[in-house]
């Protein structure tokens, strides 16, 4: 254990992981909708910090840019438009809480068992991948070009679908 903390990086990992978990706990345990959203932001930022520790600055920045800068802001904006003062408790029945808690505990146990059970069977080595922007761009638009375009088309279809659904409700009203 002493060895583990002699590396500042490992200490940072423990601190950041702890904060991320607290924020994530806030997302599921809080009562005000706004607080849940802000805790979600903290959780996203914590994951981004973990990416930095893993020496993947691009992933960290993408995480902040997309999840904090776009998705969370959209969630907050939606909350503002639909009654941000929703302060009532989320009101989940006890039965559901028990089911969810059981599922979480079982899944966590399985994950821990999987991680420790497989320890040593697969060697842990740096991937050696080129993480520069140039390499990433060439991979996205070259080798994975078709998959990239397919994903874009899917997103476009989803956008158009959202507009169609919301407009139809407008006409009926």
């Amino acid at each position: 254990m002493i060895d583990f903390f002699s590396q500042p990086t490992n200490l940072w990992f423990v601190v950041i992981a702890f904060l991320t978990l607290i924020a994530s706990l806030g997302v599921v345990a809080g009562e005000k909708v706004m607080h849940l959203a802000l805790n979600l932001g903290g959780s996203f930022a914590g994951v981004a910090a973990l990416f930095v520790l893993l020496q993947s600055p691009f992933l960290a920045i993408a995480q902040v840019l997309i999840y904090v800068g776009a998705i969370l802001v959209m969630i907050l904006f939606g909350l503002m438009l639909t009654g941000a003062h929703a302060t009532e408790p989320t009101g989940v029945e006890t039965g559901k809480k028990v089911t969810v808690a059981t599922a979480v505990i079982v899944l966590t146990a399985l994950t821990i068992w999987g991680v420790y059970g497989s320890a040593g069977r697969w060697p842990v080595v740096p991937s050696g991948l080129d993480t520069s922007l140039t390499a990433l761009g060439q991979a996205l638009y070259g080798h994975w070009g078709v998959a990239f375009e397919a994903a874009s088309t899917l997103l476009l279809a989803a956008l158009v679908g959202a507009i169609v659904v919301s407009r139809r409700e407008d006409d009926e009203a």
């Binding site: 500042p8 990086t9 005000k32 706004m34 607080h35 802000l38 932001g41 930022a45 600055p57 691009f58 920045i61 993408a62 902040v64 840019l65 904090v68 800068g69 776009a70 969370l72 802001v73 907050l76 904006f77 909350l79 503002m80 438009l81 941000a84 520069s132 922007l133």
Partner: protein, 334 residues
Amino acid sequence: MLLNLTGLLTAPFTWLNLLWMFVEVLVMLVIILIYVMAALYGERKILGHIQLRPGPNRTGPGGVLQPVADVIKLLFKEDVIPAEADVAVFKIAPVIAFVPSFMTFAVAPWAPNVLFTDLNVGVLYFTAVTGITTIGIVSGGWSSGSKYPLLGGMRGAAQLISYELPLVMSILGVVLMAGTANMAGIVEAQQKWWFFFPQILGFVAFFISVSAEMNRTPFDLPEGESEIVAGYHTEYSGFRMALWMLGEYTYIFADGLLCATLFFGGWHGPWLPGWLWLLIKAMIFVFLAIWTRGTLPRMRSDTLMVFAWKFLLPLAMANLIITALVKAAIAGWF
């Protein structure tokens, strides 16, 4: 003059080096606080002269002690928290808004090898981090528990999201020309000429959208004192109000650094040391921001969105396409 910061970055990550990093960040914070005092005084003086009045001239010679008086007044004021406020969010919101503005300084390239972190995606880092401020503005407006701040917060969110797109699009033109998203790399690519000249279209889109991101006149709709009192920070007072102001002025400085780095050759310049050139260029940007505030009226909220989506975004995209075509054509010739 400045420490060789990259030497520290490549050094092993020990506790002593960590301490040094904290010291450096502290020094940067002090520099920014001094700048904010100067900017407060400069803004009041320049606005005064634009409006044919002397500006502050009673406190100290030429009124130079005015910002000191302002700050002391802010710090000694009662910190009012409205009864309807959501206390926890109300307290944290100005911090969420200010911290990203300070984080942007991590990638500012002051001179070769004088920068806090040499990130190969520095420009993206800048835009990603500034996006967090939106959350501070929205939650500050919401948590005040009153109507005008809520309106201001919503205006802020809509405006910042809309103008972030043309901003990033216009920056991409520069990134494409330099062939790197590294801030220092972009400056090095401007050895021969500033990107301002070939990227003039991109600069127009950049300058307008960066002004909108700063929430200042003519884009101060989230505050709009004649419409919604003071927008998202109506209910704030004392030290928390000072934090909002600090964030706003720090952003002008940070955006000035970004502008100088992307379009005006960063540290390049004759005679003077590099960091001074960057500072001079950034301060010219700060002056421009104050000048536009004193000259232009506020935009109407209905024209604001149309302008971003139907003029700025197409302009930035056209610039990007032209840059890509020209770059491909040149690559084809040689």
